[in-house]
């Protein structure tokens, strides 16, 4: 390994931990780390910077949260819905509209997407939180099948792929692997999303392992 390459990785890891990377930088970091190969020092730096950044927030004076908020979270987990703020709903509708176009295109190629092609009022859209770019999913509650669509996604790196997980309780079940092309991803899974609590995406070897080996880079809560 070259010192220059290692320096680049360390620099980008530091900026990423602070939340300062842009999508293109994420791809550069992934590519550099993949090209760099197994590197114990890189792993140590990554873990150390992430831990450090995670602790920075404790410099702030705590702000009390309203009473009952923990129970509100538990209620949401049990399935109670929370009213959406209009601004966010508008954003989701925009994503849904985009997804319908994508679904229509995919449906031509993959008949199994038919159950979720129609833009019905019960169609649900979930936006993933986490890494760079935008990743969203559309599904029809009560029916198997979901379409994931993303743009501006960083490459998972050479020999790597994104793996999608349906998590119920504490149990992750693989819904398959997919890699973006030029940052765009369109992938269909026939898993029954309605039965899961959380969807998560991890970066995995292209062998698509049956259990996650890394921390999620994107997550979406399904309640």
């Amino acid at each position: 390994m070259s010192t220059r390459e290692h320096g680049l990785i360390e620099e980008l890891l530091a900026v990423r931990a602070l939340g300062g990377l842009e999508p293109g930088d994420d791809a550069v970091l992934s590519a550099a780390m993949t090209a760099h190969g197994d590197c114990e020092e890189c792993s140590r730096l990554e873990t150390g910077f992430e831990e450090t950044a995670g602790l920075l927030g404790f410099a702030l004076d705590p702000i009390p949260v309203r009473d009952g908020l923990a129970d509100r979270v538990l209620e949401r987990a049990r399935g109670a819905s929370q009213p959406r703020r209009p601004r966010r709903r508008a954003a989701l509708v925009a994503v849904a509209a985009a997804l319908v176009v994508v679904v229509a295109g995919v449906a031509t190629l993959r008949p199994r997407t038919q159950p979720i092609v129609g833009a019905s009022s019960s169609q649900q859209v979930r936006r993933f939180q986490g890494g760079a770019g935008a990743l969203a999913m559309v599904y029809e509650p009560g029916q198997p099948g979901a379409l994931l669509w993303g743009e501006g996604l960083p490459s998972p790196g050479a020999g790597k792929t994104y793996e999608i997980w349906m998590i119920t309780g504490n149990t992750p079940v693989s819904a398959g692997c997919a890699s973006p092309t030029n940052g765009e991803l369109s992938a269909y899974t026939d898993a029954d999303v309605s039965k899961s609590d959380v969807m998560a995406v991890t970066v995995e070897p292209t062998s698509c392992p049956p259990a996650p080996t890394t921390q999620p880079v994107y997550t979406a809560t399904l309640t």
Binding site: G20, V198, T219
Partner: protein
């Protein structure tokens, strides 16, 4: 030693949450939600959105506690990282990002003194908060500025470069040097 005990307590609470223990969840929430709220408010500058972010982060904890990997760090850092990622993501989605940033930086310049200069007032603050503040305060001003704009301000490295009028490479270097120094001080504090 106190730190070791609190870290062990947190890991035990997460293990109990894995078993569906709601009281363990409430305990962890009571310990860290106020700090999570402070971080979210600082980044997104909207109380309602910040509360939503905190809820989402803890909902993820409740639903998927097994995602936590103690080999990669502490529970509290993991929780705060989840909150920070969501907060930064929310900020980047804002269409009025540039205008918001302009307003925010004025606030940050005023509030920069909050984490670092409030040490004297933090008599009752946990040792951890005191230590993180001292570590931040010990950084050279140019490094601290980059860390604070990026982490607490939610700005990307390019936005930071534009904000302070420095080349992007300089911003990256300052971020790296600042994080190296913080890491040596903060992570050592955790041991």
């Amino acid at each position: 030693m106190a730190e070791d005990l609190s870290a062990a307590r947190d890991r035990q609470l997460v293990r109990r949450i894995e078993g569906g223990d709601e009281e363990a969840f409430r305990s962890l929430f009571a310990i860290y939600a106020p700090s999570a709220m402070a971080l979210a408010v600082r980044v997104v500058r909207q109380t309602q959105l910040a509360e939503e972010i905190v809820q989402e982060a803890f909902l993820t904890l409740w639903r998927s506690p097994s995602v936590f990997d103690e080999r990669r760090g502490s529970v509290k850092a993991w929780l705060m990282t989840m909150v920070h990622h969501r907060a930064v993501d929310a900020v980047r989605r804002e269409e009025s990002q540039r205008r918001r940033s302009d307003e925010m930086v004025v606030g940050i310049r005023e509030e920069t003194e909050d984490p670092t200069d409030a040490v004297v007032e933090a008599v009752a603050a946990p040792a951890e908060r005191d230590a993180v503040r001292r570590a931040l305060r010990s950084l050279p001003e140019d490094q601290r500025e980059v860390l604070e704009l990026m982490y607490f301000g939610g700005l990307s490295q390019s936005q930071v470069a534009e904000r302070i009028g420095a080349p992007l490479g300089t911003v990256k270097s300052r971020a790296l040097l600042g994080m190296r120094r913080m890491r040596s001080m903060v992570v050592e504090m955790e041991r």
